[in-house]
């Protein structure tokens, strides 16, 4: 069940870009926390630049985190962009390849890439999958990872989260003929 958002979500000035730079830094950091918590509690991997959850396949227009009807406030798009750009800089979101240039979508990292990498490594170890080639689909969508927090993670994001293991020489990624990562072998 999604957790209710913290009290600051009902604070009207949160929706106005604060002119004081110290407050603004705090304000952006509050927004990042809200987005991470929102995504995590909705089990959402991906959000649109407008602030709604993007689910694989469905192009449904959903409520946006940046619109608070209860207090009749919404964050202006310019400020939303500033929030996304800070999130990407701090490694808490990654722009996806999908979405139009004018309206990008983002993967939300409520854990850091490194932390996902460690968790995936644990799965390889406890599932006895070391030394085997496992498809990325199997890893993230297969039955064997059900119950693990990364289960359901979009494949491109999964590939990103494998990178730290490659750097540590624990993993080798297998690409298809177009250079798209399709499988991985962890040692």
């Amino acid at each position: 069940m999604p957790m209710p958002l913290p009290p600051i979500y009902s604070f009207p000035p949160l929706y106005t870009r604060q002119p004081n730079s110290i407050i603004r830094r705090q304000q952006i950091s509050s927004w990042m926390d809200l987005i991470l918590q929102y995504a995590k509690s909705h089990n959402a991997w991906c959000m649109s630049a407008e602030g709604s959850i993007v689910t694989e396949g469905s192009e449904s227009v959903q409520e946006s985190i940046f619109v608070n009807n209860e207090i009749e406030r919404s964050v202006p798009q310019v400020f939303i962009n500033e929030i996304w750009s800070t999130m990407c800089q701090e490694g808490k979101a990654i722009g996806t390849d999908k979405g139009k240039k004018e309206s990008p979508t983002y993967y939300i990292l409520w854990r850091t890439v490194d932390s996902w990498a460690s968790l995936i490594l644990q799965w390889f170890e406890s599932a006895g999958k070391l030394q085997q080639v496992v498809t990325i689909y199997e890893l993230s969508q297969g039955d064997e990872s059900i119950g693990w927090e990364f289960h359901g993670m979009p494949e491109p994001l999964t590939a990103d989260c494998l990178k730290p293991l490659c750097h540590r020489h624990r993993a080798t990624i297998v690409n298809d003929e177009y250079g798209k990562p399709v499988a991985v072998k962890v040692v």
């Binding site: 002119p19 004081n20 730079s21 110290i22 830094r25």
Partner: protein, 181 residues
């Protein structure tokens, strides 16, 4: 664990015959804690300066959880004993006549000079940038308290003047209005 503080002995109030012996023991522990806690800062910046309030929170949280916290009053009395216990590298000093700090020798002038240098180089910097420039690697809550007090001192003494915009307060060296001493 490497680098972690662990109380070497449990300083239990009840075990001491009198308050004075307890305070002596606590004083040594606080002193050691502060020296080792700020070792890196001392090497990098050349001084140690922390408000007693911040040190109180740090010391209790790091050293006394599980062994009984000390009171603010005890903290102060313990620090007042440093000199007589031969603990000479850090002593209590008051900034702006209001904020008590534990500091190494000449640290106040040291920080003040550094802050004035930074304001000289980056005219119009705000406290955020100042904290970053002064403490390149880490910007801890405790440095901020010192920086705001030193800035206040610079303003009170006319070394620094402010440019107050809705975006925040920006600091400049006072280059136009000499203060007649």
């Amino acid at each position: 664990k490497e680098g972690g503080h662990k109380p070497s002995l449990i300083l239990d109030r009840e075990k001491f015959y009198n308050k004075s012996l307890f305070l002596d023991e606590i004083a040594r522990e606080i002193y050691e804690f502060a020296i080792s806690e700020f070792k890196a800062e001392k090497e990098r910046l050349g001084y140690v300066m922390v408000t007693l309030v911040d040190l109180y929170a740090m010391y209790n949280k790091c050293m006394r959880i599980g062994t009984g916290l000390i009171s603010p009053q005890e903290m102060r009395e313990a620090c007042e004993r440093f000199e007589e216990l031969g603990l000479k590298d850090l002593k209590l000093t008051k900034i702006n006549g209001r904020v008590l700090c534990l500091a190494s020798k000449n640290s106040f002038d040291f920080v003040k000079t550094k802050i004035l240098d930074i304001v000289n180089e980056s005219a119009g910097c705000d406290p955020l940038l100042l904290t970053q420039l002064l403490n390149r690697d880490s910007s801890n809550a405790w440095t901020f308290a010192i920086i705001t007090e030193v800035l206040q001192n610079c303003i009170d003494h006319g070394d620094i003047v402010i440019d107050e915009q809705i975006s925040g307060i920006h600091y400049y060296r006072n280059s136009y209005w000499p203060v007649a001493v």
